[in-house]
């Protein structure tokens, strides 16, 4: 369950990244469509957090387990904080910051999957 969900989250975050870059290039501000996509990413990350914590016991190495937990907890903070910043900022840089956040989510979720793959 964790693996397919991670890939869905990575896919959505990548889509969000591409969309944000497109908006930045076109000099458009954030709208409901992108915000809804970010909300989907956020829901995915929260479900991942719950599933990951429930299955944390499967990771035997203590360092890896701690990294996994730290990523799980950190990830949902990113879409929320970048969305708040992006809504307040009224220049095209806002979409740039949203793109950076989406990229970070995609990379961190992939890293999460790498750790999980080694044990599941």
């Amino acid at each position: 369950m964790i693996e397919p969900l991670t890939y869905v989250v990575v896919g959505l975050a990548t889509l969000l990244f591409v969309g944000s870059v497109y908006y930045a290039v076109k000099d458009r501000l954030i709208d409901d469509r992108l915000l809804a996509l970010a909300a989907l990413v956020e829901v995915g990350l929260l479900v991942l957090l719950a599933l990951g914590l429930a299955n944390l016991g499967q990771i035997t190495d203590s360092t890896e387990k701690a990294t996994f937990a730290a990523y799980l907890v950190s990830l949902p903070l990113i879409p929320i904080s970048t969305a708040l910043l992006t809504i307040k900022e009224k220049t095209r840089w806002a979409m740039g910051s949203f793109a950076v956040g989406a990229f970070a989510v995609a990379v961190m979720a992939l890293r999460l999957q790498q750790i999980w793959n080694a044990y599941a």
């Binding site: 701690a66 990523y71 950190s74 970048t82 840089w93 740039g96 910051s97 950076v100 956040g101």
Partner: protein
């Protein structure tokens, strides 16, 4: 109260805040893990990780707040730059002192060299904010039509 003339968040600053925020999150996570899982294993590397995390958190705060924090942020970025250069060089020259990695090891290679580039961008951004604020203050102190000999600024070409 935030100083409106030293607003560091607008424009490119908002991107810097996000990048700094993510790095601060990653550095804090790593540092907490390292210290909780056994500080004795690599005390120097772990202490440096904690220092790096604290400085990144501080820089993120300064970028977001602006105002009087611009000066603090300049110092934070300077410490980061010195840190990444010193620790980066040391991790190559005396690898034995760093049995475990820090954010600054090998010039931030583990983080895509972002820790090396970020303080430079931060310093440039803070300098721009500071300069614009200084220019605005000067303009306010002496209105342009009052005539300011020796101010070093060329006024718009007179049409007369």
């Amino acid at each position: 109260m935030p100083d409106p003339t030293r607003r560091a968040l607008g424009g490119p600053g908002v991107v810097l805040v996000v990048v700094y925020g993510v790095l601060a999150l990653a550095a804090t996570g790593r540092s907490l893990l390292q210290i909780l899982s056994g500080f004795d294993r690599a005390p120097l590397a772990y202490a440096l990780s904690a220092l790096a995390a604290a400085v990144y958190l501080l820089a993120t705060w300064c970028l977001a707040r602006g105002g009087k924090w611009v000066r603090v942020g300049t110092w934070a970025c300077t410490v980061e730059l010195v840190g990444v250069l010193a620790v980066g060089a040391a991790s190559f020259l005396v690898p034995d002192a760093f049995p475990d990695k820090t954010v600054w090891s090998h010039f931030g290679q583990g983080y895509g060299f972002v820790p090396l580039v970020l303080p430079v961008l931060g310093l440039l951004w803070f300098r721009k904010v500071e300069r614009e604020a200084a220019a605005a203050e000067q303009a306010e102190a002496s209105p342009p039509d009052a005539g300011q000999p020796g101010s070093g600024r060329t006024p718009d070409a007179p049409t007369a």
